[in-house]
Structure formats: structure tokens, C-alpha cells
């Protein structure tokens, strides 16, 4: 445990020194804010219309109208930028020969993998915290329901775990950061698109399985405000699977 924290601490330090985390955070927050702003604008226009027509339009709740589309769009942006956070984790160690230090120190591979994962998960957590200004601003002018908001953030956080563990795996495969990023884009987009095709294959067992593998529906449940065991299990087991793969790759590289 102590070792994991030491390793995570070093990893965070390197994140804060390098510009990449700042660039990623800035782009992410700028785009998210823009999406949020346009959803709010759309919503206020819509509710103005609704008032003029004196309730003839169905009442739209603010969570479904503003936060749900914002978070769903945000998840796509995350899919595109998270590989940039994870790409350096193992690739850089190998390229800079520091992997020889880690692998000849009394550290287990699990500790090395977890140290990196904990660090990048913490960075991601900070990123999500920084988006809290959206509901906070909105809560000044209107009533918002915090419960589905909490579920949404939990969903985003868990989905991030999957993104990061897959990115970690990709980074362990190569010493080239660009290749690592491209591989993790591949994996994440695959996990995303499998849902799109699943909608087409319908109710066959294969289609259902593909549906289960797809991230989109699981995230949507959280974002709707539903915390279901099925979705929890999905995200956690996918994360563990990614970490397991990473462990195997790091282990097997000793034998090359």
C-alpha cells in the first residue's frame, strides 16, 4: 500500500510538471462548458416557449434537458482525450530506461500497475471536480435535483476507470507514446461502437452480449439517475479486466 502511494505520488508529480495534463484539462473544460452553455440556452428558450403556450408543451425537467445531454457529450470528449493522459504511463518509463529502476526495486508488478492507475484516476477525479461549477452555477438560478446528478458523476467516474485501465494497458504494450494513444483510442472507440451495432443486431444472444459490453447504455442509465448493480458490475469488471491485462503485459515483457 505504501509503495502504491509512493509510486502514485511520483506519477502525479510528473503530471503536474508536464504540460499535457493542463492542456487536456483546459480543452476538456472549454468544450464541456460550451456544450453545457448551449444546452442551457436551448433549455431556457424552450421553457420560455412553454410558458408562452401556457403549459401546452410537456414540462421538461432540467436534469434531462441540460445535464443528461451535457454528460453524454462529455463522455465522448473524454473518450478522445483520456488516451492522452494514459499514453505516457508505461511508454515513457520504457523509453527513459526508468523501467529498469522500477523492475529491480522491491516492488511487485501489481504495485507498479496500481500506483500508476491510482495517480491517473486521481487526476481524472480532479478533472470531474472542476466540472462541478456547471451544476453549482445553475443551482443559483434554479432548483436542480442533486440525486441524479450524483448518479451521473458516479457513472462518469466509473466509466473513466475503464478508459484509464484500457489506456494503461495500451501504454504497457509499447515504448512509443503516440502508438499507445492510438491503440487506446482503438479500444475505447471499439467499446463505444459495439453498442451502436448492438442496436442493429436486436435481440439475438450475440446482440444482447454486445449490448452488455457497450459502454453507452450503461453510462446512460447512470446519467438518467439510476444506479444499478448491472451497470456498476460492468464498469468495475471492465476496469479490473484492463488492469489485469496490463499486469500480464508488464509481466510478460520480462520474458522477452
Amino acid at each position: 500500500m505504501r509503495n502504491i502511494l509512493t509510486l502514485a505520488g511520483k506519477e502525479m508529480q510528473l503530471y503536474f510538471i508536464s504540460p499535457i495534463a493542463y492542456v487536456v484539462a483546459t480543452v476538456f473544460l472549454a468544450v464541456s462548458d460550451y456544450i453545457f452553455y448551449s444546452q442551457v440556452q436551448f433549455y431556457s428558450g424552450f421553457s420560455l416557449q412553454a410558458r408562452q403556450m401556457q403549459g401546452n408543451l410537456p414540462q421538461l425537467n432540467i436534469h434531462d434537458a441540460v445535464f443528461r445531454p451535457t454528460f453524454l457529450n462529455m463522455s465522448v470528449i473524454l473518450l478522445l482525450i483520456m488516451p492522452l493522459l494514459t499514453m505516457r504511463l508505461f511508454a515513457e518509463e520504457k523509453k527513459g530506461h526508468t523501467s529498469e529502476l522500477l523492475m529491480t526495486s522491491p516492488l511487485s508488478i501489481t504495485e507498479i500497475v496500481m500506483g500508476k492507475f491510482v495517480a491517473v484516476l486521481w487526476i481524472y477525479f480532479l478533472l470531474l471536480v472542476m466540472t462541478l461549477h456547471m451544476p453549482l452555477i445553475l443551482s443559483i438560478v434554479t432548483d436542480i435535483s442533486w440525486k441524479p446528478l450524483f448518479a451521473s458523476y458516479l457513472g462518469l467516474f466509473l466509466m473513466g476507470g475503464v478508459f484509464l485501465s484500457m489506456g494503461l494497458f495500451a501504454s504497457a504494450l509499447t515504448e512509443n507514446q503516440i502508438i499507445a494513444a492510438v491503440i487506446s483510442f482503438g479500444i475505447l472507440i471499439g467499446l463505444w461502437l459495439i453498442g451502436v451495432s448492438a442496436h442493429n443486431t436486436g435481440e439475438t444472444p450475440l446482440g444482447q452480449f454486445a449490448n452488455y459490453l457497450s459502454m453507452m447504455d450503461h453510462l446512460d442509465n447512470f446519467v438518467k439517475g439510476l444506479i444499478g448493480t448491472r451497470d456498476l458490475c460492468y464498469f468495475i469488471s471492465m476496469t479490473v479486466f484492463g488492469l489485469f491485462l496490463t499486469h500480464r503485459v508488464v509481466e510478460s515483457q520480462r520474458w522477452k
Binding site: 530506461h97 529491480t104 526495486s105 520474458w255
Partner: protein
């Protein structure tokens, strides 16, 4: 302290090391001497449990490399071929991190850090980013990293590479001072370095051990002359005498040969190739040349590659000494 027996490592078809066996006693310094690609780094990586061997076994500090790698990792300090440093960290931040992952805590970190900084004379750059340090200083940070937890065994892969001549001498002195308390294996492809620092030299070439010996015994084996053997159809009494007349030749040793034929080994000055003169003499005298070949023992062959000039270092050691002398005079 370190026992290596019949260790082999293959990368696919490439045999990096082949049946390597040697041992190091507690407190000794062993130099691993070999030209580029000999398998020095590979052997060290196996001993540090960075990667497993294909076959054979080894124990370090009493622990088997396959069975208890964790115990070994706790007891070794390793300076890899390329110093394993984070360029974005300062020297102190980096060494503190290393101390922690080596298992030090609390006051241990502080003492380890201070002594490592002092031993490697890094005090004045301790707050600088490693990325801004020169190659030689990075190498010293790498060395400090290997020393910080005061390990029983030090494995140093070409510790003086990239240092200037004055620093080379300092680091060699440091390594010599560390022996006794620590058991040390270091690699080098410079013969004078191996003999200057260590009690025991293992010479490795193309993955195979060519010689294991103390440095005095090895030096005695280094050739003092060039040897050529030849065979002629007609043995004549005049042969040795005529060949001795060739300039540079100092000895002709007759060998056993088939009936009527003559076989000899000719010793001549080092660095002088007498084969052309030799063949001309044989042909003009009509002895009937059957065979001629230079005699090169594999050990000598390796030494030939290893005996690189070390003028720089000698010059620096001289100027350092004279510098000191002038300071004392003032």
C-alpha cells in the same frame, strides 16, 4: 556472495550468454570485461532479476534468482547501462523517491540521501533538474541511486562511461572504497579499468567466458610477442638461423612434424607482421611452404580488442596530481 552457474540467455536465435559460471566472494570487486555485445548487460540484468535466464541458476546474497527475486531486489543496488533517471525531477526529489521504493522510511531516507549525495559529490547540484545536468552528472545521479539504501551487493553496468577523466578516477576511487562493505560487480570494456579497480576479472566474449582470474595472473598471460606457425616440405638445419635473420624475429621454436617435414613457431615483436618476410625467405630458399598461420589465442584476441588507450585518464591523473602539488606549494 554471488554464485553463477551455467547461466544462458537466448533472445530468439541470438545467444546472448552461453554457459556462464563464476562467483564473487563477500566484499570483493569483480570486473566483467568484454567488448561490445559480449553479454555483460545481459548477465547483469539476469542477476538483478530484471529478466529471467533461459537456463542455468544463480544466487545473489544467498537467494535464488528464480525463487526469491524480492529478497534479492531488497539487497542490491543496480546502475543500469543508461542511468534510470526522471529528467523532470530534481536530484533530491528523484533520490528521495528511489529511497522510498527501496524500502527506506523516516530517518533512513534522510541519512541515505545525505550519504549518497556526499559520496557522489552531488551536493552542489542537488536542487537542479536532472534533465539540465550533463551526461556525467546524470551518471553520478545513477550511481547515487544505486547506493542510497546501502545495499549488500552493487551491480554497476559501465559506471564510468560518459565521465571525464578526472571524474573517472574519482568514481574508481569511490568504488574501491565501497568494497569490503559491499560486494561489487562492475562491467567495463576497458582493460586498464578492470585491472585498476577489481580483485577478480571475468573476461567474456560473444557470450562465453574466456578467462576468470586475478588481475596479476591475467596480466602475465597477456602476450608479449607475436606468434606465427609454419610448416615446410624440407627440413633443413639452416632454417632457424635464416629466419632469425628477419628483422623483428627473436625466437624460432621447432615443433614436431611428419618425417622429413619441418614445423616451427616464430616469435616476433608485438605489432609487427612478419608473414610477408617469412614467406619470401622460405620461397627463396626453396624449402617448400606447406602452411603458415598466425597463432592467436582467444584470450589474446579479446585482449587485443580491449586494450584501448587510456592516455586521457593517465594524463588527467598526472595533472590532478600536479595540480594538488601546486596547491600544496602555495
Amino acid at each position: 556472495m554471488i554464485e553463477v552457474s551455467h547461466l544462458s540467455k537466448r533472445y530468439g536465435d541470438i545467444v546472448a550468454i552461453d554457459d556462464v559460471t563464476f562467483s564473487v566472494d563477500r566484499g570483493q570487486i569483480l570486473a566483467f570485461l568484454g567488448p561490445n555485445g559480449a553479454g555483460k548487460t545481459t548477465t547483469m540484468r539476469i542477476l538483478t532479476c530484471f529478466m529471467p535466464a533461459t537456463s542455468g541458476s544463480a544466487t545473489v546474497a544467498g537467494y535464488d534468482i528464480f525463487e526469491s527475486p524480492m529478497e534479492i531486489k531488497r539487497r542490491i543496488g543496480y546502475l543500469p547501462e543508461n542511468p534510470p533517471v526522471y529528467l523532470e525531477m530534481t536530484v533530491v526529489e528523484y533520490l528521495r523517491f528511489v529511497a522510498k521504493i527501496k524500502g527506506l522510511s523516516g530517518r533512513g531516507i534522510k541519512t541515505g540521501l545525505d550519504s549518497a549525495l556526499e559520496k557522489c559529490t552531488l551536493g552542489h547540484v542537488s536542487g537542479r533538474l536532472i534533465g539540465n545536468l550533463s551526461r556525467g552528472y546524470r551518471q553520478r545521479v545513477g550511481l547515487a541511486q544505486a547506493l542510497i539504501h546501502n545495499p549488500d551487493v552493487l551491480i554497476l553496468d559501465e559506471p564510468t562511461v560518459g565521465l571525464d577523466p578526472k571524474q573517472i578516477i574519482e568514481i574508481r576511487e569511490l568504488i574501491k572504497a565501497l568494497a569490503g562493505e559491499h560486494t561489487i560487480i562492475l562491467s567495463t570494456h576497458i582493460l586498464p579499468e578492470a585491472t585498476a579497480v577489481s580483485q577478480k576479472v571475468v573476461i567474456i566474449n560473444r557470450g562465453k567466458i574466456v578467462a576468470v582470474d586475478s588481475q596479476e595472473r591475467l596480466s602475465a598471460q597477456v602476450r608479449k610477442s607475436e606468434k606465427v606457425s609454419f610448416r615446410v616440405r624440407r627440413k633443413e638445419a639452416l632454417v632457424p638461423q635464416k629466419i632469425l635473420a628477419i628483422s623483428g624475429v627473436h625466437q624460432v621454436i621447432p615443433q614436431e612434424a611428419d618425417k622429413g617435414e619441418g614445423a616451427y613457431i616464430v616469435e616476433s615483436d608485438v605489432g609487427r607482421d612478419i608473414r610477408e618476410d617469412l614467406s619470401r625467405t622460405i620461397v627463396t630458399n626453396g624449402w617448400g611452404l606447406l602452411e603458415m598461420k598466425p597463432l592467436v589465442l582467444s584470450l589474446e584476441e579479446v585482449f587485443l580488442e580491449l586494450t584501448t588507450q587510456e592516455k586521457d585518464v593517465e594524463a588527467a591523473s598526472f595533472s590532478a596530481a600536479s595540480h594538488q602539488a601546486t596547491e600544496e606549494n602555495q
